[in-house]
Symmetry: C2
Subunit: 132 residues, 2 copies
DNA sequence: CTTGACCTTGTAGTATACTACAGGGTGTAG
DNA sequence: CTACACCCTGTAGTATACTACAAGGTCAAG
């Protein structure tokens, strides 16, 4: 059974029913086909897409950024060179984000270390983590 | 000259004047001392803190999460064991975030690779990047 | 063939994080 | 001592991302 009703699709994707409608309005997912009654019928691809959106949001991407990311794979990617440039800049953004997160992680680890050695830190390593 | 007026502090920190007032209201930064005229006078530590807030926000942390992160270093961290547990759970969160970002990065890289080899991808690797 | 769980639409409300006034005081340069 | 740029407060508006109705239609069970 590939097609799901709103309630089931929402549950499968891990979001609220209204969120699906909201994503539809915002163009983040395709408009689902409708049955005779006008009820929405969601295909599994849309569920996968919504799951991705949910997780990407947890990673701190905005809906616009997520749309961008998703558009990199499905649309008429006419110009390969243009696509590559776009994708590569996204990759750079993500790498820089990873690098900064690692710095915060290291700062927190150093706080835990200091604490385990019963020393009181002189200066906060967290603030320094994201300096230029 | 350690103390800065609102406009200068905002410029130094890379935010708007009103944002400093907002962060003050929300308890994200200390209330600055005031001159005779009632004008705010920001110390450099506050500027550093606001810079951290700005960058952490770019990494996808909410203001509440950032407050939490900052509270891990400056407050009366009475119970070391409790502090360690809290910090370690934050570290785990960040590590998991880094792992997921790496998956998205790899998915994008594979899209670029496919494109460079002039092949059209059968299935979108981005959607799969954040599956369970 | 009624009941109740589901669906539809449009619209309004919430939380987060600012951002922009209005109305008034301050401080310094010429 | 008058501009004018800056500061103050309180309040209202914006963008993002939902979330919750209200009013009504659909459908499957008993």
């Amino acid at each position: 059974m590939p097609l799901l009703t709103t309630a089931k699709a929402a549950e499968e994707a891990g979001v609220g029913r209204e969120t699906l409608r909201f994503y539809e309005r915002e163009g983040l997912i395709e408009k689902p086909i409708r049955g005779n009654s006008g009820y929405r019928q969601y295909p599994p691809e849309t569920i996968a897409r919504v799951r991705f959106i949910r997780r990407a949001k947890e990673l701190g991407f905005t809906l616009n950024e997520i749309k961008d990311l998703l558009d990199l794979s499905d649309p008429p990617n006419a110009e390969c060179a243009q696509f590559r440039a776009h994708a590569k800049s996204k990759i750079e953004d993500i790498r820089s984000k990873i690098g900064k997160l690692r710095k915060v992680e290291r700062a927190l680890s150093s706080l835990v270390d200091t604490c385990e050695r019963s020393g009181t830190p002189r200066k906060c390593p967290i603030l320094d983590a994201l300096e230029d």
